[in-house]
Structures are given as C-alpha cells and as structure tokens.
C-alpha cells in the first residue's frame, strides 16, 4: 500500500524544521550553494553523486595507468619495466582500484544521483549519512593509495590470499593498508546501502509502487541488498587478517592449526556477490538506455526485475567456484560447479530481453546506445567464458590463467564499465545541462571497443596456451610473445579511447558555455528523472508527481491509440517541471560527515604507525558523531524559505521561542531528541562499524 493520500516527499523522517539554538555554537553552519565549501559540506544527493563519479574517473585514470604499466611490463618476454616487487604492487593495486575505487563508486554515483529522482523523491532518507558515505569512501581510497609513498603498496593480489598476505610473507605495510583501506570503503558502502534501501522503501512518489519503478532502480535496490549482506563478511575477513598482522592472532597461522581456506571462503562469500554488485548497476543502466533509443518499452519488465533478483539470490550460492582447485573436496566442487552454471539462466534472460527490446524498434544509435549495445555484446562473451569456468574439471586448467583474466575483463570492462559509460553519455545532459559531443563520443566508442577486444581477446588464447596470471615475466620460449604484444598495443588503444572520453568532456563543456540549455528531456526518455529541468535543480521536482503506471513520464508525452499507434499528446517541456520552485525546504549542509569520515583514515594510520594517531582519529569520530547527533538535519537560518504550509509556519515561530525542552514541543513539532534518533537509527550502525575499527581489539 502506498500512502497516496499523504505527501511522500518528506526530506527525512524526523526532519526538524527549526531549532532554537544553532548546533554547537562554536561552528556556524556551512552556507551557500557555490564555492568549494558548498561541495565539501553538501548533503545534496546530486552533488554527492557527481563527486562519486568524479572520484571514480580519477581512480580510473590511476588504475588505468597501473594497467598500462602491467601491459608495458608484459609486452615482451623478460620485460624489465617493473621489478618483481613493483609488479606485484601494481597489479594488486590495479585490481583493488578498479573494483573498489572505480566501478563501485561509479555505481554509487548513479545510485545517488538517479535513484531518488527515479522514484520521484526529494533526496535520500539520510542526507548527511549519504555525505558521510562519500567522504568515507574517498578517505579509504586515498588512504589506500598513500601506501605507494609509505613503504610500498599492497602486494598480495586483490583477493589477498592468506597466508601470503600475512606478516611473514608480506612484511611491508602494504597489506595493512589493503585491509584497513577496504574496511573504510566497506563502511561507506554499508552505510550507503542502508540509506538507499530505506530511500526506495519509504520515499517513493505517490503511486510509485515497486513494480512501477524503473529497472535501474530495481537493480540498484538489489545491489544495495547485496552490499548490506556481503560487506559484513569481508569486514570479518579483513579484521581477521588485520588482527593476525597487527596483534599476532592465529587465524591464518598454519603452525597453530589454522586452515588458509578459511580466508578464501570468507573472501569469496563476499567476492562473488561483489561481482554482481559490479554488474547489476550496469544492467540497470542498459535497461534504461536501450528502451529509450529503441523507442519501445523494456521487453518483459517483470522478467527483467525477477531475473535481477534471481541473480542477486543465486549469487550467494556459487562463491566456491573460485576455489575449484583449492582442494576443498569433490562434493563441494560438484555442488558449486552446478550452482554456478545455472546463473547463466537469469543472465541470459536479461540479454535476450534486451535484444527483444531492440527487435522491431526504431534504433537511434546515439553514443549512449552504442555503449549499451556494445556492453550487451561484450558482456555476453565474458559470460560465456564464465560458463566454461563453471565446468569445474575444465576450470582446473583455466584457473589463474589469462583465460580468467580475459573472462573478468570482458564482464567488468565490457559489461560494467561500458554500461556505465553508456550511462554517463545518457545522463550527462541531466546532470550538467548539456550533451556530450556525439561525434567524438562515437569515435571514442569505436576506439575503445576495438582497443578493448585487441587487449583482452588475445588473453583467451594466452590463457588456454597456459599463461599464468600474476607473473611479472614469461620466458621467450613459452610461446606467449605474439599475443602479449597485441594485448599491450590494445591497451594503449583503450587508453586513447579513455582519453577521447575525457577530451569530449572538456570540448563539450566549452561548447556548452553560452549555448542554450538542453531542455529537460533531450532524448525523449521515459523515467521520472527527465521530468524536471536539466541540470536538475537542487530540489529535484517543483511539484509532487503522482504515478499511475511504469514510464509515467513517457505516457504523459505520448498516447497509445486503440490501433497501437503512438501519438504525441504533449511536449516534454510542457510536462516537465521547470525547476522554478523557490519554496522548497532542503536539508542543510553539514560539517560533521566530513569530520567523522576524516577520523577513519587517522584511526587506520594509527593502527599501522602509532596508536596515538588512532586515539586522535577516534576522538575526531566521536566528536564528529556528537556534533552530528546534536545538529538538526536542517538549519533554519540557512535559507530563507517561504513556507506556505501552515503547520510549518507556526512551527517556525512557536518553537523558536521556547527554550528547547521536550515539553515545549506542544505544537507537534519534533522534540529535540531528533538527533539522538538519527544516532539510534543509523548512527548506531555507523558507531558500531567505527567502533569495530577502534574498540574491538582485546
């Protein structure tokens, strides 16, 4: 049941319109909507989304440069671009960066920006917590990368198998940075998952039932559930590793009777859901882009949704396919081999439904569409090689070879990254008010696609010819020379493609200056996010939108006649909001999310170097939380809004005068314990996770 009778667009439950005294008295609340401070302290889901995306792109360049170093080293046999040690750090950080600092935040960017818009909400459920997620993620990412300058980056591979990741075998601080950095990023993801699920469950526009939600929203919801349940598993694994390394625990100490497979199980119980965390957002994006540019609704909406849910579920029962050769026993191998294979079914449904969406459509091959179609094609290749890994006996030949490297680059680069590039081209006008250049975009697409296949296609062959992963060099007579050279050349073509993308951003920005804005709906799209001005105004929508069917916005523009003919009934500009509302009350910026997030890396540095720094970080976290809890989500002085809502008006004056006691809230305004309530709600989770980082060592 949706509460259509009641306005659903509240900012946060328990939001407090007025507070008699300002937060701590010491610090004035951050104000204004321009300048760097307006970004640093923002709680606007759109700005947060954009910053997630920007950070992801920066990390893409870092991870990409690492990839290029790998390829340079492997271009010819016996390469000496990197030392053995450096190579191990570079490929480890390449994997970690690409997975945790590129694809995940890129997905978070889309989730933050689009999810509230697609369900017709004003913001996420906990705006400040959202800001905290961003900064915690960034803190974790930067923390990880500082390891380069502090005695060496992690060198145990992105899945950090124990005991090689233990102190004896990896004595530099690198793996400590790995364990703690991922822990911090994990806190960010967990908090964000809670936030976004609550948003979807609670804040949909009137009439926006779950089965009217866009497929992207659905996929993002599934992803948040996967994060919710998967993050704690790696949290535990990383704690065990940290405790082993820093405090001499025995979890992976074979001499004490430990079994290294424990790490593998824990890592992959997280790790396999993780790969669906990486792909489902892209699936969602493709499910938005393809219908728009095919001019048809998504084919088989319920199947699309349920297959996404099914993938999410089945993703929990296949983890040990990464361990077919680990010696876990034939029964486990058989069971996981079978469960893995059948994941191809719901995935195949998605692929074929996309094709069916295109079938009989009028395909407008824009850049966004090309990336989406490209992603379908490339992902299929990766998925099919995935099925050949699932055949456990065959995987004993394939595992840890470049055949696997080919598989996961096809699914991650070819699926996730291309899908997200599609999303960037598609929603760029919504985010920035101008399109990216189509011509450059298409050239970039072809360069990228060709380079991508040139790089990773040959890796299938290399792998089947027996080239192992994670080797910093190969012998000249192993027969790997030719295809490695191809791959290296290809990787530079990819780099060119990526550079064209960045170039496009620059060119398009410059061209857009002074040019008329793009209008709310440049693609004749379907989702609610297009029903407001571009770029999206801070308050998202001017009015409430009542949803009566899927693709509500499209149906307001077009009508399907009795003969199935589609007729325009309105122009987008007439239907969409122009963003001119001035009386919208928004949550105010806040310092505290940044402060708390800043404490996290300090705690982590301290654990590595000096416990005093940990203390400092803990103080920062505690102080930040305190400030946070006692700061109202909303600052009455922040902006001068014109309320036309009676209750609000009276709240403003009535409560402002009274001295802040609970009893003073006689007019129904919230009591002052609201902050405490947010603490209890999610602050508890946050506090618990931070405390795990600080207080849980015996």
């Amino acid at each position: 049941m949706t509460t259509t009778s009641e306005p659903p667009l509240q900012l946060t439950a328990g939001v407090q319109l007025v507070r008699p005294s300002s937060s701590l008295g010491v610090l004035a609340r951050p104000k204004g909507d321009t300048g760097w401070k307006s970004w640093l302290f923002t709680v606007d889901h759109k700005r947060i989304g954009i910053m997630y995306g920007a950070a992801a792109l920066v990390f893409l360049v870092i991870g990409g440069i690492e990839a290029l170093l790998i390829r340079l080293q492997l271009a010819v046999p016996g390469g000496n671009v990197l030392s053995e040690d450096a190579y191990n750090q570079v490929f480890t950080m390449h994997g970690v960066t690409m997975v945790f600092l590129v694809i995940m935040p890129m997905a978070a960017a889309f989730a933050n920006y689009l999810l509230p818009l697609q369900i017709g909400a004003r913001d996420v459920a906990f705006p400040r917590l959202n800001a905290f997620s961003l900064w915690a993620f960034l803190a974790g990412g930067i923390f990880l990368n500082t390891s380069w300058f502090l005695g060496g980056a992690p060198d145990g591979g992105w899945f950090g198998y124990a005991p090689n990741s233990g102190l004896v075998y990896s004595p530099s601080n690198g793996m400590d940075f790995y364990a703690l950095g991922l822990q911090i990023a994990g806190i960010a993801s967990l908090v964000s998952a809670i936030n976004l699920i609550t948003t979807v469950l609670n804040m949909r526009a009137p009439g926006m039932t779950l089965f009217r939600m866009p497929v992207l929203t659905w996929m993002l919801l599934v992803v948040q559930f996967l994060l919710l349940f998967a993050i704690p598993v790696i949290t535990v694994a990383l704690f065990l590793l940290t405790f082993d390394r820093l405090f001499g625990a025995n979890f992976f100490n074979v001499a004490a009777g430990a079994d290294p497979l424990l790490w593998q199980h824990l890592f992959w119980i997280f790790g396999h859901p993780e790969v669906y965390i990486l792909i489902l957002p892209a699936f969602g994006i493709m499910s938005e882009v393809i219908p728009v540019f095919s001019r048809k609704p998504i084919f088989g909406y319920p199947f699309m949704v349920f297959s996404g849910i099914a993938i999410g579920f089945m993703g929990w029962g296949v983890w040990a396919h990464h361990m077919f050769t680990s010696g876990m026993g034939p029964v486990s191998v058989a069971a996981f081999s079978l469960s893995t294979m059948f994941i191809a079914v719901p995935t195949g449904v998605k692929i074929l439904n996309w094709l069916a969406t295109m079938w009989g459509g009028r395909l407008r091959m824009t850049t966004a569409m090309m990336y989406s179609v490209g992603a379908v094609a490339m992902f299929t290749i990766g998925g099919l090689s995935g099925v050949t890994h699932a055949i456990a006996p065959a995987d004993t030949q394939q595992t840890d070879t470049y055949y696997i490297v080919a598989h996961f680059h096809y699914v991650i680069f070819g699926g996730s990254l291309m899908g997200m590039l599609s999303g960037i081209y598609f929603w760029w006008p919504k985010m920035f008010g101008h399109k990216l250049d189509e011509k450059l975009g298409k050239i970039g697409f072809w360069v990228l696609l060709i380079g991508f296949n040139l790089t990773f296609g040959p890796m299938h062959i290399l792998g089947l010819q027996g080239m192992s992963r994670r080797i910093h060099s190969y012998a000249a007579d192993s027969g790997f020379n030719l295809w490695n050279m191809f791959a290296t050349v290809g990787s530079f073509v990819v780099a060119l493609g990526v550079m064209l993308f960045f170039w496009n951003i620059g060119v398009s920005r410059r061209r857009a200056r002074g040019a008329p804005p793009v209008g709310p709906d440049p693609w004749d799209a379907r989702g609610l996010e297009w029903m407001t001005a571009s770029p999206t105004p801070a308050h998202n929508f001017d009015r409430d939108i009542t949803v009566t069917r899927p693709d509500e916005f499209w149906h307001r523009k077009w009508r399907i006649g009795p003969d199935g003919e589609v007729k325009r009934i309105a122009r987008a500009a007439d239907v969409a909001h122009d963003g001119s509302a001035t009386d919208v009350h928004l949550p105010s910026p806040s310092y505290w999310p940044v402060v708390v997030a800043l404490g996290l890396p300090l705690v982590a540095y301290g654990l590595i170097y000096n416990l005093w720094i940990t203390g400092l970080g803990a103080l920062l976290i505690l102080g930040g939380l305190y400030g946070w809890v006692f700061e109202p989500p909303d600052d009455p002085e922040a902006h001068d809004h014109h309320d036309d809502h009676d209750a609000d008006g009276s709240d403003d004056s009535g409560n402002g005068a009274s001295g802040g006691g609970a009893s003073s809230n006689g007019d129904g305004a919230p009591a002052d314990g609201d902050g405490a309530r947010e603490l209890a709600g999610v602050g508890a989770g946050l506090a618990a996770s931070t405390a795990k980082a600080t207080g849980a060592q015996p």
Binding site: V168, K296, P297, S337, L338, M358, A377, T399, P520
Partner: protein, 423 residues
Amino acid sequence: MTAEQPSARFGRPLWRRLGLVGIALAAALALSACADEHPLDTLTEAGPDAQEINDLFFPVLGVAIIVFFLVQGAIVYLVFKYRARRREAAAAARAEEHSGDGDDLYGDDEYPAQVHGNLRLELAWTIIPTILLAVISVFTLISLVELNEVSAAEDDLRVTVVGQQWWWEFQYHLDGDTSTPPDIVTANELVMPVRQQVPLEITSRDVIHSFWIPRLNGKRDAVPGRTHPWVIEANEVGRYMGQCTEFCGLSHAYMRMYAVVLSPEEWEEWVQGQIVDAAPLEPGDPGFEGQEVFLANCANCHVVNGVTDVNLDGRLDGMIDYAGANSITSALVAGAAPNLTHFASRTTFAGSIFDVYEGRAEWIPYLEVAERGDLNRGHLAAWIRNAPERKANDADGARGMTAFPGLTEGEIDSLVEYLTTLR
C-alpha cells in the same frame, strides 16, 4: 582412470561432435597448436586426465561459441535492420529550436508498435538454457567422478609434492607409504614412468602454490597444512613443462617445473641411480675442495645424502613440521632447500628457470648426463655468487637462497666442480 575406452562412455560421440566446433575454433585461434612452441598449452593434451578435461571443455566451448554467434549475429542484425534513419534537415531544425523534446538529434517523431513482452518467448529462453545447462552438468558430474578415480594400487609409487617459495620438492615413496621417510627426494623435476598413473599428495611449506603440468592434468593447489590428492599420467615419453599458478610472492613467475616422463626401463634405471646416497669425497678426489666449501657454507640449508652430517631422518621427513623442528639451522621460513644429492642428474635448477647444461636441447636423453653438453658453469657460478640477483627473493635470506659475497671466485669454481660430481 578409464581412459582405455573413451568411446564407450555415455553419449560421448555426439558430445564430441559438438566439441568439434570448439576444437576447430580453439585450434584456429591458437594459430599453431604445436606443443613445442607452447609448452604449457592446455589444448594439446598428452595424458588421459588432460584428455578427459578437454573432452568436456571442447563441447562446452562449442555450445558457448554457438551462443556467441547467435547473440552477436542477432545484435548486428537488429542494429542494421531496425536502425532509425537520421533526418539531418529535421534534426538541424529541431536543434535550432531546442525544444528539449529529445528528437532534435534524429528528427524522428515516429514510434513503432509498443510491445511490452511476450510470456511464451521469455519462458522459452528461460527454459532452453536451463535444459542445455542441465545436460552440460550431467557430463560435468561424470567427468568429475572419472577424474577422481585412482587406478594405481595401494603399494604403487606415490609422490609427495611440496611447494615452497619458489621451487618444488618431490618426495618419492616407492612403496606407496607416505607416512615413512621418502626413498628419493628431488627438486623441480618430477621424473615419472610413462603410461602409469602416479598418485600425488600435494602440500606446501609456506604459502599457497599450485601444481600444474597443463598437458597432463589440471592444477591443484598446494596449501600449507593440507594435503591434496591428485594424479598425473602421461601417454608418451617426454618433458612437460609446468608452472606454479597460485600467486605466491616475489618469484611466483619463476616457480616452474617439469614432468620428465621416462620409459619403464629408463625409469627403473633412474630410480636405481637416485636411491643411493652420495659418497663423501676424499682428499685428492676431484671436487674435494668444493665439498669442503660446501660443508662450510651450504650445508646448513642443503642436504647431500651421505655427505652432510645432519640426521637424514629429520631432513627428509615426509611429514612437514611447522613448529620449527626442522634440523635446518638457517632462517629459511620454509625450513627446506633443494636436496642436492643428485643435483647434476637434473636438467634445470632454481624453479626450473635455469638450465644445468648449456643449450636447451629439444629433448635431452635424461639419463645420459654425458650427452647433455657442457655444464652451464656461468649460470651456476652466478647463482652461487648472488642468487637474489638472478631470481628475486627476500633479501634477508628467509625466503630463497642468500647471496655469498664472501666466497672467492676460486671457491665458487670449486663449488661448481663439486656440484658436477653429484650425479
């Protein structure tokens, strides 16, 4: 293994035919399936286990390739068939207007029939792959069972394989009893008889490694604290390359190995040569000086059976003791260095990345050392002088062989001389 009668297996002929698609493509892709050029090639099997795996892999690859062509073909078809024609003029006009209606790019206001789905179609492409995969899973299970069969008798040869940073140790139990000290201990080259299934027990002394001779069988991880059964068998006499495939630190890439497959007679001869201890050299014997230098510098890590005066049982104990009870007095984490008793009978050293003899012959008669050409003095001397420079390791000597800056060139020469006596 039931490799003797492959065609008798359930459904195999048809299954194999499907595999032809896979084979064709794999072969085409690989350009050359010549095993000499690709010593680690997984597609040119040389043993029944690898054969079993490829019998399963090729048909699945065939299915995958068919699906690949269907999907890619469909994409290309759809894109060309249903592509909207750009209407440049109209587009320009719209762009001028900036109506924000989303058609300024294509100037196309037309919509095709709005199809929301088709239950029957969707069920079809849910059920068909399911059936396909169910069939594949049956064959997968069959293969799994077959691959886990051990045909060797209880008292046949059994080899304990021990991985460590960054070399392999092979402990031979000729009577099949792995609970007793092994009869032969060698490094990096797994010598084995042809057409005989050799059961292995794979383990590790430090981190996780993975034992893999691609042309003979898939891989199996060497996990410390665990012993994993595995089998290996070769159809033909030859030399098959292997590589550690689980990331194990600095010199992971340099952790290779060979399976050396001998005819039954040669195998017998090899065994006879290996089970004897080395004889301590007397003053005046060639290599005697080297032996002295060896005992002074090398014997706290390396064993030469019969020469180094350390308790043999402690050294060669097939049971790996992690509690530090190794009789090795060095700081080696793994607690073991290659056994050098018959060093000169091997063809490669240090994780099989260097040749003991000059010139890597296509196939060296394994037992006739005399025919192998000249000793690779340069490599050996360089190794003894400064091993970390030749093969990255932990510089403090805890993992891998330390450098010996203190040795004079003369001493190094004498050591090389001594090593050649260890046949």
